[in-house]
Amino acid sequence: MNIGRIKRSINALLVNGTLILIVLLWLIPVVGIFVSSFRQRFDIQTSPWWNVLPHRGWVMTKTIDPRELELDTNSPMTVEGITATFEEMQAGVEEGDTRLVWIGNRRIGNIQIQKKDWIMPGGLTLDNYQQVIQGKNIRITHADGTVQTVRGDDFSVALLNSLTVAVPSTIIPILIAAFAAYGFAWMRFPGRRFWFILTVALVVVPLQIALVPVLRDFAGLSLNGTFLGIWMAHTGFGLPLATYLLFNYISQLPRETLEAAFIDGASHFTIFTQLILPLSTPALASFAIFQFLWVWNDYLVALIILGPDPNVRVVTMKLASIVGDRGQDWHLLTAGAFVSMLIPLIVFFALQRYFVRGMLAGSVKG
């Protein structure tokens, strides 16, 4: 009995230990940008993000102008009691808690005396978020006192656009797919099998091939650059998978329930809205999450259908434009990336509890 208990606690330790290790591995990249998004541009470029933790490092205590010492840099020199050659000094000479570094070259350089000490975190700022979220000009005061005016990135409008794109692009295909899935599963009509196979086959068509024809059709309907256009595009591209997965679920619902309803004289439409939809909530919710994430994170379809008009720009386009415009403006990229993650995370956490059953319908039985 005792051995069993020990065994069990070792087991628990093993299980939780491995799990925590994996979770940490998964978390590190996100923590990296989260921390970085609060750091200043210069800090991000010159020191790693984990330096925001208190750590031991070299702190400069004194700078010496080598020209004042009139040193001969071609032979070993003695500075502050440390003797070394020029090359050694360039690499840094350590003696106990002191380090001597020659910064620069023989002609214009200086010698730094550094001491090892605890470096406390600091210099975190919310400016990055402010610059990313607001659309107006923003004045930023740098550490050295200079003031700089920059154009904000106006994520607030992009977030609104993304929501306007993503919510209908999630609900409309699910609605259409649910009707179709019900039709395929519980109605008899000629060509049922053919159309269903076509649906499954279309799951694999890469959407890139549709860009030119769809854009051309949309041009005829003057749908380019409109939200309606992109809703339709996402609906079209998302339907095969939605229909296929919802079919898997809806076709597995207990036949007796439906038959009972039919006997009571209910119509297909009534059964669908009153019975099937409520019963399928887990499947609908879980697919909603995936479709929402997919649409929210889409860049290509938005770029082609919505075009580069700033009024309809979505978050991913905004983010990509920061990558493109400013090269390595890490401080804005990290803040922007984090802002763009927030809504999908909220949606995920809100719908998570429906995730228990759903996607896997049909396969549970194995």
Binding site: V15, N16, L19, I20, I22, V23, W26, I28, P29, V30, G32, I44, T46, P48, W50, L160, T164, V167, L175, I176, F179, Y182, F189, R192, R193, V200, V204, V205, P206, Q208, I209, P213, F227, L228, M232, T235, F237, L239, T243, F247, S267, H268, F269, S286, N297, Y299, L300, T316, L319, V323, W330, P344, L345, F348, V356, L360, G362, S363, V364, G366
Partner: protein
């Protein structure tokens, strides 16, 4: 939908069939058309208005979603008002028709068009008016034939060195390594989380990367792979670790000295992104295994590993197959991560990036289309497998 042309018959039944078909096709097209018309009118109205942006957004969402729902309702009412016989004939098409019409428009027709283009040279098929087929068929077909190249684009796909390395990457690294890795890690997390006290939290955190766009993922992973000159502080985590152990810092994804293994660093990103998906599905499947079976095995003295392999795995085999196939489809189509991280340079090209470059940047529409069709064909075995599975399910007997 081509069926109705052939039925010109004497029986009343057949005549009814023809009418039924016309009505069915009509319904399938009419619902989306009317839906579109109403939505579009609403948009014109909205665009004319000067309401604040958020009001427009909310109205647009309600209008779009509500409009579609109401249309289904109205059409169903219409069909149900007919005689029961007709209701039965037409109702399935109210349900299924709009989905089929949309899929044909957005995916099936473009796929056929792409195949047609793949048989032509760089500039695609000649841009002649379609009416010419009837007015001047001789010239039409001569011009088309002149630019017709047959399967030579396909021959090029399988001889082009860059294309071959793209195929290799797709098969070895993306299907061969990324897919099983995602499945295994996903399964491991699902099993561990199931028996852990931190189940909810750990699952949420593993799922989190799925909420990140590829553009965002590119930003995030730059903080891992970023390289600075030796001797300066490394701001990329991986290089910081490597340097701390006395190694040389590298750019990893573009470290061609280890090619093609630099692809692994892209694979890691995708595994990180997709494990959440696998985990969620596995986790739900594990929850579906009756507790008694597992307990019974434990009482019989089975070790945890035996329980896992002899009971859990067989029970969730269906899910494992579903997850694996969806991830294979995803990795075959993989584009964004590669495009964002390396642009296909350094030997990391995949089929989709080659297609994109050839079609849209080099404007070689024939070759680009052929690549897309090869991608489609590559996925076909996966579909066939899936269809076979479906056939085994009772719903389709």
């Amino acid at each position: 939908m081509t069926k109705f042309g052939q039925t010109v018959e004497k029986e009343q039944k057949s005549a009814g069939k023809v009418v039924a078909w016309i009505l069915r096709v009509g319904l399938a097209i009419l619902i989306p058309v009317i839906a579109f018309f109403f939505l579009y009118q609403g948009f014109l109205f909205l665009r004319a208005g000067n309401a604040p942006k958020w009001v427009i957004a909310v109205v647009a969402i309600v209008w779009g979603v509500g409009g579609v729902a109401i249309l289904y309702y109205l059409f169903n009412k219409l069909v149900e008002s007919l005689s029961p016989d007709w209701t039965e004939r037409l109702q399935p098409f109210v349900f299924v028709g709009p989905a089929i019409a949309m899929m044909i428009w957005f995916l099936a027709l473009p796929a056929v068009r792409t195949f047609y283009f793949s048989l032509f040279g760089r500039n695609g098929p000649p841009a002649l008016p379609v009416t010419m087929i009837f007015t001047n068929p001789g010239e039409y077909f001569t011009v088309v034939a002149a630019q017709f190249v047959g399967l030579s684009n396909y021959a090029a796909v399988f001889t082009d060195r860059l294309m071959l390395s793209a195929l290799r990457n797709n098969i070895i690294f993306w299907i061969g390594i990324a897919t099983p890795l995602t499945v295994i890690v996903g399964l491991l997390v699902a099993v561990l989380a199931d028996r852990s006290k931190f189940e909810r939290m750990s699952k949420s955190l593993i799922f989190m990367p799925m909420a990140i766009s590829f553009v965002g993922a590119g930003v995030i992973w730059n903080f891992i792979y970023e390289v600075n000159p030796p001797g300066t502080p490394q701001i990329g985590l991986l290089n910081a670790v490597v340097v701390a152990f006395g190694g040389q810092p590298h750019g990893w994804t573009n470290y061609t000295a280890i090619a093609p293994w630099n692809n692994l660093f892209l694979v890691i990103i995708v595994v990180w992104l997709q494990t959440g998906y696998a985990m969620v599905l596995f986790s739900a499947a594990i929850k579906g295994i009756p507790e008694e079976i597992i307990e019974a095995a434990r009482v019989d003295g089975a070790t945890e590993i035996q329980v896992f392999f002899r009971i859990m795995i067989p029970h969730i085999l269906g899910t494992i197959i579903t997850v694996t196939t969806t991830i294979i489809i995803f990795t075959l189509k993989i584009f964004d991560v590669v495009w964002v991280m390396t642009g296909g340079q350094f030997g990391t090209d995949v089929i989709a990036t080659q297609f994109y470059r050839q079609s849209f940047i080099n404007r070689n529409s024939g070759y680009g289309s052929a690549i897309a069709i090869v991608l489609l064909l590559a996925i076909t075995p996966v579909i066939l497998y899936n269809l076979r599975q479906l056939r085994e399910q009772e719903a389709f007997r």
